[in-house]
């Protein structure tokens, strides 16, 4: 018991210390605190009145509806590290404790108990209380209903711990980690599209889905639902089903702890064969593109394709234009959406803003800037890389445009996209150089973003201003490409499109040369900031 208490206290102490030592994390938590409060308040409100409404309107559906909701939320919580990239409750890194003579079961239980102090768990408590209140009212059955709901949460936390250990264990092999990250991000993205697709399918589809969910007996078998089902039975005074469901939920928690104990044994002590470390491409390496500029672009493209998070982000970027095209095709019923299509081209172009010239580099920026290459050339290389990564979006746009708008519009649309791409990338070099973002330290999660802080906020504000500047600078050239359409003189494109491209290229050259000079002047400061050595 002493060791269990010591382990729980250790975890809490480490978390408090992490906040007190890292100003950014503390500020981040302060910024998140109102969000958690609002989440708890809104969740409690929705659950209380939702459950009360359901009890009045359709009492027979209460049990299946709550079972389905508890299962869905439980699964989302457990898979949160894969779906959202953030674990709602973190599995304690027990690998550092393995050399102490502590039984694995103690490690598993201590890690589970430590999760009670996690922000998401704390935020869930008022929601569970409001559920119990909605079900049992203020009366003698309230404590039993609340305890059962808490048991449901505990089973979610225990399952999340097992999932966390599994992911942690698999992550020891780079290939598994990459695959899990790519599939998780993709799956999360597909899930996030679900509501949009459902809404577009109309109310009848939603009704059919709701009916199917309520009719299936499957959710009654879900361990995530047993706690909530016990709470419903407790509120109704049905003590035998309450005991059965609460017992099953307790058993599920015990099984999850046992599974976590086994996993600690087998994964961390190397008793599970996870296979050989993956090998990379077998063919002889080539850098096909010429010169330092070509090598820079090619390096970025290869790294993006091989980095699961970057690849997933790039592929997800294709969906944005596709969704807009769906709306455009619907607008086609009311006429040819030529103006909308050209605006969409500008939108694809401006998406290059915010790419951040050094984001791909992370700590490798020290390496990049160690090479004796002119700084403007490095910026051009990074810009070209960012623009090439947006080419698939542009190609999707052009291919779909061939069916939606007159073909004569396509060169104008491509020109608008290229012009805005060029100038967005050029202007974006300035926040990259003036407000560089600290890269995660060695051994830290490389996918964590910028730390919150005053400089981050100033950088974000500057980013907004500069994005407006990029749009403003693009506007004369976009207008040139648009003019023939406005004047209904398509032959004018022969002159206006080359003019727009040449003008944008000239402005790009001026901007990138200026940013290159700033980078050269501020290079040590940029490095100090990115590497966190201030």
């Amino acid at each position: 018991m002493d060791r269990l208490i010591a382990l729980v206290l250790l975890r809490l102490k480490l978390e408090v210390r992490a906040l007190s030592r890292a100003r950014e994390r503390a500020i981040g938590l302060l910024l998140m605190a109102p969000g958690f409060l609002m989440f708890a308040a809104a969740g409690s409100f929705v659950v209380f009145f939702g459950v009360r409404g359901l009890m009045r309107a359709a009492p027979a559906t209460l049990l299946p509806a709550l079972s389905a909701a508890a299962t869905g939320l439980g699964l989302f919580w457990v898979l949160s590290p894969l779906l959202t990239g953030v674990a709602f409750s973190e599995a304690h890194d027990v690998s550092r404790l393995l050399h102490f003579p502590i039984p694995p079961a103690t490690l598993a239980v201590s890690s589970l108990l430590s999760n009670v102090a996690q922000p998401m768990t704390v935020a869930a408590l008022p929601i569970l209380l409001s559920l119990a209140l909605a079900l049992a009212g203020v009366g003698p059955r309230l404590p039993a209903a609340f305890a059962a709901a808490l048991l449901g949460l505990l089973s979610v936390l225990a399952a999340a711990q097992v999932a966390g250990l599994l992911i942690h264990g698999l992550a020891r092999r780079r290939r598994f980690r990459d695959l899990a990250l790519f599939l998780g991000l993709g799956f999360g993205f597909v899930l996030s599209l679900g509501p949009v697709l459902l809404l577009s399918a109309g109310p009848s589809a939603m009704r059919a889905l709701a009916r199917a969910v309520l009719d299936t007996p499957l959710f009654a078998l879900s361990p995530f639902a047993w706690g909530v089902r016990a709470a419903v039975h407790a509120a109704r005074g049905e003590w035998l089903p309450f005991a059965a469901n609460a017992g099953a939920a307790g058993l599920a928690v015990a099984c999850a702890v046992a599974a976590a104990t086994t996993l600690i044994h087998r994964i961390y002590r190397g008793e599970v064969d996870l296979g050989e470390a993956g090998v990379g491409p077998g063919a002889t390496a080539r850098m096909w593109l010429p010169g330092a500029l070509g090598a820079l672009v090619e390096k970025d493209l290869r790294m993006t394709w091989r980095d699961p998070a970057l690849k997933a982000t790039m592929l997800m970027g294709l969906v944005g234009p596709l969704l807009f095209l769906v709306f455009l095709s619907q607008a086609r019923a009311h006429g040819t959406p030529s103006t909308g299509f050209l605006m969409l081209s500008a939108l694809v172009g401006i998406s290059a803003f915010g790419a951040n010239a050094f984001s791909l580099e992370r700590r490798g920026v020290a390496l990049l800037l160690a090479f004796p290459v002119e700084r403007w050339r490095i910026l051009v290389g990074k810009n070209v890389g960012a623009m090439v990564l947006r080419l698939p979006s542009l190609l999707v746009l052009m291919a779909a445009g061939a069916f939606l708008v007159p073909v004569v519009l396509l060169p104008a649309a491509a020109t608008i996209a290229v012009v805005t791409l060029l100038l967005a990338a050029a202007v974006d070099n300035f926040p990259s150089v003036l407000f560089p973002t600290t890269a995660p330290g060695p051994g830290r999660n490389p996918y964590t973003g910028a730390a919150a802080g005053s400089r981050g906020l100033a950088g974000a504000l500057l980013g907004l201003v500069l994005m407006a500047v990029a749009l403003l600078m693009s506007s004369p050239f976009v207008f040139l490409a648009w003019l023939p359409l406005l004047m209904e003189r398509p032959w004018l494109w022969v002159v206006s499109l080359p003019l727009a491209l040449a003008g944008a290229a000239a402005v790009y050259a001026m901007l990138v040369s200026g940013a290159g000079r700033v980078l050269q002047r501020r290079e040590p400061e940029v490095l100090e900031r990115i590497l966190g050595e201030e």
Partner: protein, 266 residues
């Protein structure tokens, strides 16, 4: 005026000249008015306990950190005004290895060669030779993320050598390298010094420093506490001729290594 004192001007035979170099982090001096010279073709050991300012000095000399005060030149090029030219003539093996882990070892060397302006065929030839030399040929297609620490160190060293640098900065180059590769690397470094390459070398393995370096400087709490050949330092500190570098080092940094036994052991 670029150089504050005439004595700080680089002489024709100087590869590295450092004068009054200072780096403050907030108000704390990580490097405190450090001055030294390294002649061309010398194997120069830069020693000090953890946190003494070794890596900070290397970072300043390679342009990764801006000095708070002072001046330095590499191969006669002023650090403040000729940084890009300096980067053409130096190779750097940093202690932390910021490699592009999603490139294979071979791709990384191709990339480095191109960034140093080498021709395609030249890069390819040197890459093959370096991979063979450092026993990485069988792992050439593996992504660097899958390399062991020692392999990462070797590929970073290969990248630092690919353009035939005139000055090589090596921050703990033997850390994490197996004894066989360590021997290959030290032999290579010795040959480089013989061919006129200047080596600026930090290591905690003092017997290796003693074997390799012509000259050492010891930094402690940001200040140089001794500089010269081992014999010169022995004479300065009045230690016997048979004193090892470790003995001298411990005396210089005033480290008290005598401890009583732990009360509960035995």
């Amino acid at each position: 005026m670029l150089w504050p004192m005439n004595s700080a001007l680089p002489a024709p035979g100087d590869a590295i000249v450092v004068h009054d170099l200072t780096k403050l982090f907030r108000d704390k001096a990580a490097v405190d008015h450090v001055s030294f010279r390294v002649a061309r073709g010398r194997f120069f050991g830069f020693l000090g306990p953890n946190g003494a300012g070794k890596s900070t000095t290397i970072k300043m000399l390679t342009g990764l950190l801006r000095p708070t005060a002072g001046a330095a030149s590499i191969e006669g090029l002023d650090l403040r005004t000729r940084l890009l030219d300096i980067k053409r003539v130096i190779g750097v093996l940093p202690e932390e290895l910021p490699l592009y882990e999603r490139l294979s070892g071979e791709e990384y060397l191709h990339f480095a060669g191109r960034m140093y302006g080498l021709a395609r065929e030249e890069t390819r030839g040197r890459t093959t030779e370096l991979l063979e030399f450092l026993s990485l040929a069988d792992e050439r297609s593996k992504l660097i993320v899958d390399y062991s620490h020692g392999m990462k160190k070797k590929i970073a060293l290969a990248a630092a050598l690919i353009h035939n640098p005139r000055v090589l900065f090596l921050d703990e180059p033997l850390n994490g390298i197996d004894p066989v590769s360590g021997r290959v690397v030290t032999d290579l470094l010795r040959r480089l010094a013989q061919k006129g390459v200047t080596l600026f070398f930090t290591s905690h393995v003092l017997d290796v420093v003693e074997r390799l370096c012509d000259e050492v400087a010891v930094i402690d709490r940001g200040r140089i506490v001794a500089q010269g050949t081992l014999d010169e330092i022995r004479a300065q500190r009045e230690v016997g001729r048979d004193a090892t570098l470790e003995d001298v080092f411990l005396k210089l940094v005033a480290a008290d290594v005598t401890r009583e036994d732990l009360s509960w052991i035995g």
